[in-house]
């Protein structure tokens, strides 16, 4: 059941992660925890949050830099690579891993298009040690060129883990068909040629650190059981010397798409055909009614509870899977409907049916119960994710990545609570247009 279970989890996650949560109907803040915000003179923003189990905390450092910021030629994948280098130590603490090990810290990091997220989960008694350690590496990271070259090999290994999957190949094709200038053209892991050339980029890595790892571009979120005053004092003390100097990258805007595009790609392993319908969508904005309505439209129109899912997946079984990914990014990005088709000969008919369904949502209003159920799903989806320290930090990360602040988390759910069925139709009309559309199909080579 492993793969199937994973698929189920994805489907569940789409309730919350792709089409994020719903506001309390009352207009109250959805984020329920006691929160303290402060900002240092150098621009570092900090949120302290009381939540989770007694005696523990999660310490998250959110850098508002990801693959999106890789604007120069030949350095795709660098934000992720740099994430790895952040574990290579400093003059004061050359062995970062050894120290986190010594207090049983559960620590790691991950990189996406729009941000790099570092965390340590540990006992609250280690708060000062963690503040010391994190503030030190964000200011004083130091690694040698041989270490840098060695780490590049690990990235190549990471690239190879998923490079041969049909999903990864399809995603690469979609990106390269939709984007010509914007950096969302490449996957977070980077183009293979760039990954292979990484060992030669030592100097660039030093520049990358100086440009992006600056206090104005970082938000620290501490979640758990600890004293706010003590934590604030420690953070003010340890991060005070961090010099500002963030240089925002000139991310090239993608020219507006005005005509539909199509592409197809052949996969050399075995796969069923995969059909994707994609549309260019606006950047994330907590108070944009069209954007928020669009995010829930994905679930309403193509999620497991939708009419077309019932018809094509459950009743007729012409699709093995149908998923909608309508989550928005910091910059305009594509949203996607993906269908895995049982019979290769059926692909054109499936495409026609999915497109007809899109047209229907532009004409008809969804029923009030569906909208209410969706708002409920978003709200409970959000609340149910707040069980662990780290998940609380993750729950507010989206607003922080896109805006630098936590408060839009609450704004988002207020917008959601106020949406009407007309808003949902309007989102379909404005965004699911032919001019914004790109259809990409992956099929098995040789039939």
């Amino acid at each position: 059941m492993r793969a199937l279970l994973a698929a189920t989890l994805l489907a569940c996650a789409s309730l919350g992660a792709l089409a994020p949560p719903a506001a309390a109907q009352t207009g109250e803040d959805i984020f329920p925890f006691e929160t303290h915000r402060f900002e240092l003179d150098n621009g570092l923003r900090v949120y302290l949050i009381h939540a989770g189990s007694p005696g523990m905390l999660a310490y998250a450092s959110i850098v508002r830099t990801g693959a999106r910021d890789e604007v120069e030629q030949g350095v795709t994948g660098f934000a992720h690579f740099f994430e790895h280098m952040m574990f290579r130590g400093t003059a004061k603490y050359p062995n970062f891993d050894g120290i986190t090990e010594s207090f049983g810290g559960n620590r790691n990091a991950n990189t996406s298009q729009d941000r790099t997220f570092y965390y340590i989960v540990a006992g609250s008694e280690y708060l000062e040690k963690i503040v010391d350690l994190e503030s030190d590496r964000f200011q004083n990271l130091a690694y040698s060129e041989p270490d840098f070259r060695t780490e590049a090999g690990a990235i190549l290994g990471e690239y190879q883990q998923g490079a041969y999957s049909s999903f990864s190949m399809l995603d690469r094709t979609v990106r390269e068909t939709i984007f010509n200038t914007h950096t969302y053209r490449h996957q977070v892991i980077g183009f293979e040629a760039d990954v292979r050339a990484m060992p030669e980029q030592y100097q660039y890595s030093l520049d990358f650190f100086k440009r992006f790892y600056r206090p104005e571009n970082v938000v620290v979120v501490v979640v758990g059981d600890f004293d706010f005053a003590q934590a604030e004092a420690l953070i003010r003390q340890y991060y005070a010397g961090w010099a500002p100097g963030y240089q925002a990258p000139a991310v090239p805007a993608e020219p507006e798409q005005t005509a539909p595009r199509t592409a197809s790609v052949e996969y050399r392993g075995r796969t069923l055909p995969m059909l994707t319908l994609n549309w260019m969508a606006p950047g994330w904005n907590a108070t944009d009614r069209v954007g928020v309505a669009l995010e829930i439209l994905g679930d309403i129109a193509f999620g497991p509870n939708s009419d077309v899912y019932r018809k094509l997946v459950i009743d007729e079984q012409r699709l093995q899977a149908l998923q909608a990914g309508f989550g928005l990014s910091r910059d305009p990005d594509f949203i996607q409907v993906m269908a895995m088709v049982s019979d290769p000969a059926d692909v054109p008919a499936i495409e026609a049916e999915l497109l007809a369904e899109v047209e229907r949502f532009k004409e008809e209003l969804v029923d009030e119960k569906t909208l209410a159920d969706t708002k409920s799903a978003m709200r409970y989806g959000f609340l149910m994710r707040l069980e662990t320290h780290l998940n609380v930090a993750n729950a507010v990360a989206r607003a922080i990545i896109n805006t630098g602040e936590l408060e839009p988390t609450n704004d988002y759910y207020r917008t959601l609570a106020s949406l009407t069925v007309e808003d949902v139709r309007e989102a379909a009309r404005q965004i699911l247009t032919e001019g914004r559309r790109t259809i990409v199909t992956l099929t098995q080579a040789g039939g």
């Binding site: 059941m1 569940c12 329920p32 915000r37 590049a152 090999g153």
Partner: protein, 517 residues
Amino acid sequence: MTEHRRKGGARVALLSAFAIGGLLSGCVDAGQEGTIAMAEEGSPFVAFNIWVKVGSQNDPQGKEGLATLTANLLGDGSTQQDSYQQILEKLYPMATGYGAQVDKEMTVFRGTVHVDNLEAFYGLFKNALLSPAFSEADFERVKSQTLNYLERGRRYNRDEDLGKQLLYWMAYEGTPYQHPEEGYVQSVQSITLDDVRAFYEKFYVRNNIVVGVGGGLPAGFAERVRADIDTRPEGVVEEVPPPAVVKPDRVRVLIVEKETDASAISLGFPTELVRGGPDFYAMKLANAWFGDHRNSFSNLYQVIRERRGMNYGDYSYIEPYPNGSATQDRPVNFSRRSNLFEIWIRPISLTQPGNLHQRTLFATRAAWRELDRLVANGLPQDQLERTRRYLHDFSLNYGSTVSRRLSYAVDDAFYGLGPGAGYLASIRPALAALDKATVDAAIKKHFGYSGMYVVFITSDAEALKQLLLSGEATPITYAGEQPAEIQQEDLEIAAYPIEVAAEDIRIMDISQVFESR
């Protein structure tokens, strides 16, 4: 600039009310026979874990995959009360669901719900377990999705996960543990809806089901769930004997041929280690030092990735860790009466045309050599202390949610570990009691070996076979300069002997993997 907002009172805002010790034990009330109630007062969540004592070991010959298909049909199908679509509709506003996980010996149905929605959720969950519709349409859908995974996804999407499954297949040959839980392509093709019905009637009987519930439980709730489960008839379930632990007497290799630029590598052998059994905690410590999952300070990781940059990571296991590429949360509800010691070397890529096999064997030799060194030398006292301290603190992460704490309690029940003697509760005191002599003796006993099972998934399998048989050294080169001590060590690793006979190397094409028994 600061702002300070204080809020309170929201029902959703409750912190888990139990003390830190709760993270390491839960608050289990063994109470009624066949019921595990883990009440956490004030928790806004209720977690379910219904354990059916059946697994892939119970699959009839030729019907491998039946336990999984049965459980998936229950978890993902209609009931006598609601169509599958109606179930999805009703679950949707609660933002939750339920699902099955099937392992060799156990099947669990899990779900977590916000207390606001407990009654509505439980009604659906109960029906799924007690009054499944067994509709032909649901069966065809679930079976077709399973076959798509077996024929395509399992073979072509992640070689490293496939390699791990193949290691179990080799190591448990001829036992009920041999086949993957999802079955073979041909065995699943042969499964009928009648097979599923019969399997359900035989194994989903009340005396074979343990009820686990946890979190913000209303009064009497656990008893109510138990009473509902007790509406199932009683039945006779014969116990499957545990697989005999047979360590291989020589090295046996499987090479899967596939078009790729990277090799997946898994190796290992059966052990006598089970949770709660002799030496378990000593070996948990030894293994954490050697290859703790996704922890960069462990020895294998340091040698292969950190110092040499050969791949993304290198780990070892004394208990199953399926889906390891996808999760850092320790797996729960994979309790077994037999386990493998398993080394997982993540994909090794070629760095120049033609050097894939050199690098593949170098990484394999490096891991092998480290294992031999550990068995020969034991664990130095300072390393033992270091790892003990790490596990003492890190184990707080294991039970991070109600659902996970409950799942650990279910696993405790599987192993017969009573209240206070459960896994989470035992880790700290058991670690504290260990000394070097005990750990070293356990390492010799459990990691000592006379043979090994090895799986490679790579391109040009025949060439790898010949290189392995030749016994030639397989040196590697680096993108950067390496210190003299690493260069010296590399000479030893590159020539480290792997003695294997030609007849013990089997080659298989990817298209044939898990096709049939």
